[in-house]
Symmetry: C2
Subunit: 754 residues, 2 copies
């Protein structure tokens, strides 16, 4: 299919010699071998609440296009208004109502999924329940999506540059329409503006926000400019006003009814508006539509469109985006493994390269957080920091493979601190959503710094961490901080008291590590001590952590199994006592001690898996499989469980993710697990080793940050065996742990199985 697309491109551009040559080079480059980008299957995660979308996006793109099939009773039970649904596309749904141009990948809350482009034929129909259609022949690849709209016999093809979504619609002859629906969307925010600038251009905005049904006062606009390759013969705007129910309703024959506003060229605003561009084609024709977006202004959206895509064909843009993906994905080369192994691996790596994503416009401008000002960056301003998820492994993967990106992410976090006085917690398009608990920014920054990525202002970062760790009044990041400091833990005065205590402990441990590195010895001692206060919540009778009431007594009645599957549970956020019992990655040695030693610890940890308390789909326990490495001669358990989990939960199919991808956190888990090592203690530059699922993994290292050019992980011996020994540059490595420094300064890590 890919080559077919290209050859179509060649025909169309036959007269443009340069274009043809470019295409030929492109075809040659990718025609002979399977490139990493060719293994990407964007359908993975589009079912089972993976919440990824199959449409095209450039690496860390601001714009993306997703087929939108979550609206309308035709899509029940996975219908956006009938439940908490966080994705614009569900693989098993069948009723498509357009293509949305800003989308979140792998999140747990609905937002974005707006600016819906929809090609139709025949009379203009503006009700998505009427113009929606089933579709077939879906194809999804890195940077490319295509399907056929059954009702209209229209072939759609989609691609995207960083800030522009590009669509190519192949219409049959007759009346063709391209609708831009600004009412429909995944977000629960409402309100749009649209202005038809000319028969080839539309500008406007759509309100988005209230991620996780939270923080509505920070709802904000996404601006856009849409350009059409063919001028509309007829155009207009539709608007469905809200229904008036006063006495005047009797005079309003049009009350609540959609109106078509022909030739409307001035601004139209409303909750339910859109535009239609219509054509009469004497023969089959294609129309390309480019939609540039911006979170700053319409002018910037237009500039983004022009600078990234003006005068470029659909195929050229696709080629560029494909090459960007391939370059990034090629930083890790894998040998061995099945085709499906490669597919799930590269698709996971692809999913880790979507968020955090670019927020700044082509000219560097971006909306600052909270201030209302427009900032300007020299590099990349990143957004979508789902830090409660990503502090655990995604940023560690970035530091290793894409350290420049990780550095820019840390800089973006520090810019946020400059702007609104606080590091981010769950930042989304320069709004702080305050989703989830803990204070994960410190962990990410410390982890980055201690791995030698230091081209940012660490003193500022340290001060920012201290502020959130110490400021008791008006601290939006650490609710309950006063209790935490005074008692060592949060009481049931606060929701998720145990979870939050553990998160604060983990963060404080990172601050301690950084303090030590910066020579702040007093702080080191203070935060090191703070970091183990979770122990006060350890109930020896249960060998689990347990919430305490404000009077210090254990919370009763206490059912350790309660709280699974996101049901509410006193003391715990998104999990139960089992799923949080071991979530002290920085103090597993201490936990072993208070649990009574190695044997009880192993038993209790194994029990999590044996009694089905392990949740692969959520973050608190995702490091559990690796924790047997802390117990000498029990490491085989980690090796076995990790491999089993990979095989059970990660597959080359739409439901091939265990649940929400969590902006790439599940995918990062998979990438590390398949490579045979894992960043076991966030904040600490340390990995623990399991069995690689490939014969060989070659990681290209960025010369700006690392001395070696590449790192090779090799597996040898019985491929179904367990680890016999580990060789570092052919010398025995006596531990199942390896520091980041050791790792990146080795040529080869050889893992020999028996």
């Amino acid at each position: 299919m890919f080559n077919k697309t290209i050859s179509v491109g060649m025909k169309k551009e036959a007269s443009k010699i340069v274009g043809v040559l470019l295409v030929l080079v492109f075809v040659c480059a990718i025609g002979n071998t399977q490139e990493p980008a060719d293994y990407v299957n964007p359908f993975i995660g589009t079912s089972n609440f993976g919440a990824t979308f199959p449409g095209p996006i450039a690496p860390r793109g601001m714009a993306s296009i997703s087929p939108f099939n979550v609206a309308g009773p035709q899509n029940l039970p996975l219908e956006k208004d009938s439940r908490w649904l966080s994705n614009p596309y569900v693989h098993e749904n069948t009723f498509l109502t357009g293509f949305s141009h800003v989308n979140l990948s792998g999140v747990g809350c609905p937002d974005l999924g707006v600016i819906l482009l929809m090609p139709t034929t025949g009379q203009v129909e503006t009700d998505h329940l009427k113009y929606g259609t089933t579709y077939s022949n879906e194809i999804a690849k890195a940077g490319y999506y295509s399907n056929n709209l059954d009702k209209y016999n229209i072939k759609t093809e989609l691609t995207a540059s960083i800030r522009v979504g590009v669509s190519k619609f192949s219409f049959p002859k007759g009346q063709a329409n391209i609708l831009l629906n600004l009412g429909l969307g995944l977000t629960n925010e409402e309100g749009a503006m649209v202005k038809v600038v000319s028969p080839t251009e539309i500008e406007g905005m759509r309100t988005v926000g209230s991620f996780c049904y939270n923080n509505p006062e920070s709802a904000y606009p996404v601006y856009f400019v849409a350009r059409f390759s063919k001028a509309a013969e007829n155009f207009g705007v539709w608007k469905r006003p809200s229904k008036y129910d006063g006495v005047e309703a009797e005079w309003m024959t049009y009350n609540g009814k959609t109106r078509l506003m022909e030739n409307a060229t001035r601004m139209v605003v409303g909750a339910s508006i859109g535009t239609y561009f219509s054509y009469k084609f004497d023969q089959p024709e294609t129309v390309e539509v480019k939609i540039g977006v911006s979170y700053v202004s319409i002018e910037n959206a237009r500039e983004n469109l022009e600078k990234e895509t003006a005068n470029k064909s659909f195929n050229t843009i696709y080629e560029e985006t494909y090459n960007k993906w391939n370059n990034l994905l090629s930083k890790i080369q894998v040998d061995g493994g099945s085709n499906d192994d490669k597919i799930i691996f590269y698709t996971a790596l692809y999913h880790t390269l979507i968020h955090p994503n670019t927020l700044n416009d082509f000219n560097g401008e971006y909306p600052e957080i909270k201030t209302g000002k427009i900032g300007k960056t020299q590099g990349t301003r990143y957004t979508v920091f789902s830090l409660w998820d990503t502090y655990r492994n995604l940023h560690q993967l970035m530091s290793l493979v894409y350290p420049q990106q990780q550095s820019d992410m840390v800089k973006s976090m520090l810019d946020m601190y400059d702007e609104n006085g606080w590091l981010p917690k769950w930042e989304l398009n320069s709004t702080e959503t305050f989703t989830m608990v803990g204070d994960p920014a410190s962990i990410v920054i410390t982890d980055t710094y201690l791995k030698g990525i230091r081209d940012f202002d660490i003193v500022k970062a340290y001060n920012a961490m201290l502020k959130s760790a110490d400021q008791i009044e008006n601290n939006p990041l650490r609710p309950g901080l006063e209790e935490y400091i005074n008692l060592g833990y949060l009481t049931t005065n606060f929701g998720g008291s145990v979870s939050t205590t553990e998160e604060y402990n983990v963060a404080d441990y990172s601050i301690a590590l950084l303090a030590k590195s910066l020579g702040k010895d007093d702080d080191y001692v203070r935060f090191k001590n703070r970091s183990i206060s979770y122990r006060k919540l350890f109930d020896k009778n249960l060998n689990l952590l347990r919430p305490r009431n404000p009077d210090g007594n254990w919370y009763e009645p206490f059912v350790p199994e309660a709280g699974a599957n996101f049901t509410k549970n006193v003391g715990f956020i998104e999990g139960n006592a089992w799923q949080y019992a071991f979530m002290v990655p920085h103090d597993i040695e201490g936990l072993i001690k208070i649990m009574g030693g190695k044997e009880p610890f192993t038993k209790q940890l194994q029990k999590v898996f044996d009694t089905d308390q392990f949740d692969m789909a959520n973050e608190p326990d995702i490091a559990y499989p690796f924790l047997f490495n802390y117990i000498e001669s029990e490491e085989w358990r980690s090796q076995k469980i990790v491999k089993e989990l990979v095989q059970k939960y990660f597959q080359n199919k739409p439901d091939g993710l265990p649940g929400n991808d969590d902006t790439g956190t599940m995918s990062a888990w998979l990438v590390y697990s398949m490579m045979g090592f894992y960043p076991i203690s966030p904040g600490e530059p340390l990995y623990t080793i399991t069995v690689p699922l490939f014969d060989r993994v070659t990681i290209a290292l960025d010369s700006k940050y690392y001395k070696k050019k590449e790192l090779v992980i090799e597996r040898a011996g019985n491929p179904n065996g367990t680890i016999e020994k580990i060789l570092l540059d052919e010398r025995p490595h006596k531990s199942f742990f390896i520091s980041h420094e050791e790792l990146v300064n080795s040529n080869t890590v050889k893992i020999i199985l028996k």
Copy 2:
């Protein structure tokens, strides 16, 4: 009060020598004598459904400011959402919720009344039902309005240039807020956009339209830019989203609640939005706010603001607007009469100078009608053509006193024809509202042309008239035209069949007159014949017009008295058989004949008045009082009735208009009636004469169109008497009718009473 305002202005500008001099000149100019503008009482018509507003407007201004007191249960029964209410202000209401910046004067349908500015003190409150207040010390003058907001101890002062509303708020010390409410409004359309550009500037738009609950697909934006003389210390946007009632509502703690979005500087859209600018004043302070508007774009609104008012103080702008008013009003000087007579006269003249109003921006741009394009005019593009009303007398007054304006109005009408292929009917801001019946544009244009105002393309105008008079299919102006042409009248197949037939007759008569003037003799005969077809609806038994069924029979049951007070009535629009019986001003001689001669005619006409069937508040019968002039020796009746009507219905008080001013039509009736003559047959350059209510009326004539510099109407003899004789330049004039040509070429019309 006026002088006080000026002296305040002097103090403020003490350092600006030029400013002071200007002010001094201004004070001298108006300090010594009562100028015409000083007689304007903008409160006239603000009760009894006059539908005028008391706030400032420049002559034919696009922007105006009205105190807005028609929202909220506090204002029942004259509350905008509880009934059909067409004005932003009602004098007897008490609860003020802001100052609206675009307003219609004297119309019968709600529209505009948006962009509401409201100063408050204390905490920001965005609910108008909570921040609204009673007020006191109202002052209204041409170009100026002031009151005190009781709840806040704020003095408000308002003025306006053509496209900019200017407010000056005097705050006590403490927290002061200036709210801009874009949700509240008189229009039934919804939807606004706002963007805080800086702490001194806001830009945005508000949707308006659906005038008379009609034509919603032409709803359109009014754009604005607001500039504040002092930078806000805090600002933000509020938005009340519509209430969500799906399952997600349970997660939306903020569902349907107003949110305050602090520091929001990007676009916010919604049905219920606004901005707040807040200050903390250590001492009493004033803030001036200038709001420029445009129907084209925000950029034009900003340019309008800058070109008209930048760097000008409130007082300077007021002075300029005052002078504009005074110059125009001074075109008619009256001597004699009481102070109240002068007040009602000049206020009426003021009301005729509000609509039609300016549509084009400072740079000449304006929205074309229907095309979606932006046009550009060299002169003035006028809008708000309530032609069913104004064809009867207002344009005739313009042709006499302000012929340049009338010429530009005709040019605007012809531009509309160029743009959308049709002359206007009831045009409002480049939308055709299709309100009322008939085809009045032909009458206005013919009337203008035949009065010698000919600097427009009469051939185009004539073709435009023929099109609406002859095109049977797809004719938006003359529904029922086929029946009308075939039968001579509309049958009850069409609403208002008698009224519409008469209107078409009057229009056809104008076309006949113009045809004759242009030498189109065939057309002259054809339209002359068409113009008297109303006679087929004359029921000899009743001596009234009566609807016919499609089969030709009289409509039964027929109650001539039915249909008064705007109740529905088969055959008649806004009136009954009595009120339409004589509405054939072009064929009164013919009507006299079919009514059986002079005596039955006189009797029947007198009966209208004697049986209380005469409605002073609506247009169909407003020429009736003058019709006795057609009967020799009965002219005294006209003289008596006109004088009585003036005294009864037109007074120096808020309810001093008989009803809707109808964009100045009632006021034009008063102006003419008080001057002692009236344009008796619209389209025909003819006046009929009654008793002037002043000793002397001097009309300045525009040298571009008229040879004489001025025309004097003098009354002599017994002031309570009836007309004994009429002298034209001292020569006896043997008729109670006088042609326009005779009139404007006379120096003096002396009316001698006995």
